[in-house]
């Protein structure tokens, strides 16, 4: 791991502890020996109130590569997560998380989690990543909403 990667992650952690958006949580995972693994974080994204996502707080994992922040972290929901822009593996398709698209070293954890929260209720029609949610979202909105509500109950706030 480069020294910049570790240094930046320590600063991100400090900043997050000092101030983070309401309802969100994020922390580095622990290694088997109890020490902190700064390059792998767990976090929770609350659905926005008064939307079909509003009842849930959805878990993500954030993996920071060795050349972070030059390269973006890989952010995943649990495998099989129901959303048009989430791959079956759980990987999130979001432009600010894509190196060849809008990722920049100045993008913070706060911006990432807010970006994901906004993606939940505003799927991007230009980048379908899975068949079931995508099909329902574009052809059968009732079915889509039922599935989303069901999923939100699985991850209560």
């Amino acid at each position: 791991m480069s020294s910049l990667c570790l240094q930046r992650l320590q600063e991100e952690r400090k900043k997050w502890r000092k101030d983070h958006p309401f309802g969100f949580w994020a922390k580095p995972t622990k290694n088997s020996d109890g020490s902190l693994n700064m390059q792998r974080w767990d976090a929770g994204i609350p659905g926005k109130e008064n939307t079909i996502w509003g009842q849930g707080c959805f878990p993500i994992t954030i993996e920071y590569p060795n050349d972070y922040p030059s390269k973006p972290p890989k952010v995943k929901f649990p495998a099989g997560f129901y959303h048009p822009n989430v791959y079956p593996s759980g990987t999130i398709c979001l432009s600010i998380l894509n190196e060849s698209q809008d990722w920049r070293p100045a993008i913070t954890l706060k911006q990432i989690v807010l970006g994901i929260q906004s993606l939940l209720e505003n799927p991007n029609p230009n980048s379908p990543a899975q068949e079931p949610a995508w099909r329902a979202f574009s052809r059968n909105i009732k079915e889509y909403e039922t599935k989303v509500l069901e999923q939100a109950r699985k991850y209560p706030k």
């Binding site: 480069s2 910049l4 240094q7 930046r8 600063e11 991100e12 900043k15 050349d67 922040p69 030059s70 390269k71 600010i96 809008d102 920049r104 070293p105 100045a106 993008i107 913070t108 911006q111």
Partner: protein
Amino acid sequence: MTFNIDKELITLPIHQNTIKEYNEQLRYPPSMFNNNYNIDFKTQTKQLLETYIDCYIAGIVDLANSTSKINKLGGNYIKYLHIQYANNTVLKNKLEQFKTDYKNISKDISTDNLTLDYIVNDENYYFSQLLNNIVSTEGSSTSTDTDFNNYCKNLNDPLLKVFKCLPLLLKDPMCVLPDDEENNINNNDDDDVKVAGGTIELTCPITCRPYAYPMISRKCNHVFDKDGLTNYFQSNEDGNQIKCPQGACKAYLTMSDFIKDDIMDLRCKIYKNISKKNKLNKNNDNINDVIL
């Protein structure tokens, strides 16, 4: 135009020759045909200013409560630029005059004859007359203060900028400078890039730490620490231009687009100094509390 000779300069921990030379230049400002002083003058001014700032950081000089020292130094610098500018405009006017005069007499001379030999051995003394006119007349500068101000703006002189900003920064090192606002209007890619809640962040967006060596992009005015930038550009193996590290900025950059950001450097130094002082005061208060 008269300069302010600052007697307090002698108290600065700087080589006395530098101060002597500086004062010497104030006594003999640049003339029309000898502008080459100004490089030295600029270097000297910069050196003196840096010494003042170093002394301020070291607690020897109290700049925050007496900006007059800075104003004297800066005032002289602006006057110097003004003289230089006035001389240049006079020369420009004279050149125009020469061109007009030449057009008038050139009817008599065919361009075939216009060799260096002809000019030197000029039997009709056309050129000597013209040159005489140019050199002997006082010449006039038609420039106004607005012209000079525009000239200063286009000059983009970092030293001039420091003089303008320093009094504001001494009061509040995180303040938004009028120029910053201008920059943001000119390239409104992302409004909240440099300005967050009316204050300037003194930490690098890449390293998220206080700046150690701030550098500014000449293309988009975004500021990053040298370490973060080096790392970012090293990750790009082919060495082509890559996107600015700032979110949503549309500029494509290489390391060579960055120069040291003197203003950010000043902000950090002053900020550090103020927090150091505040800490000291707090400690003193605590001691007083105990005594009371």
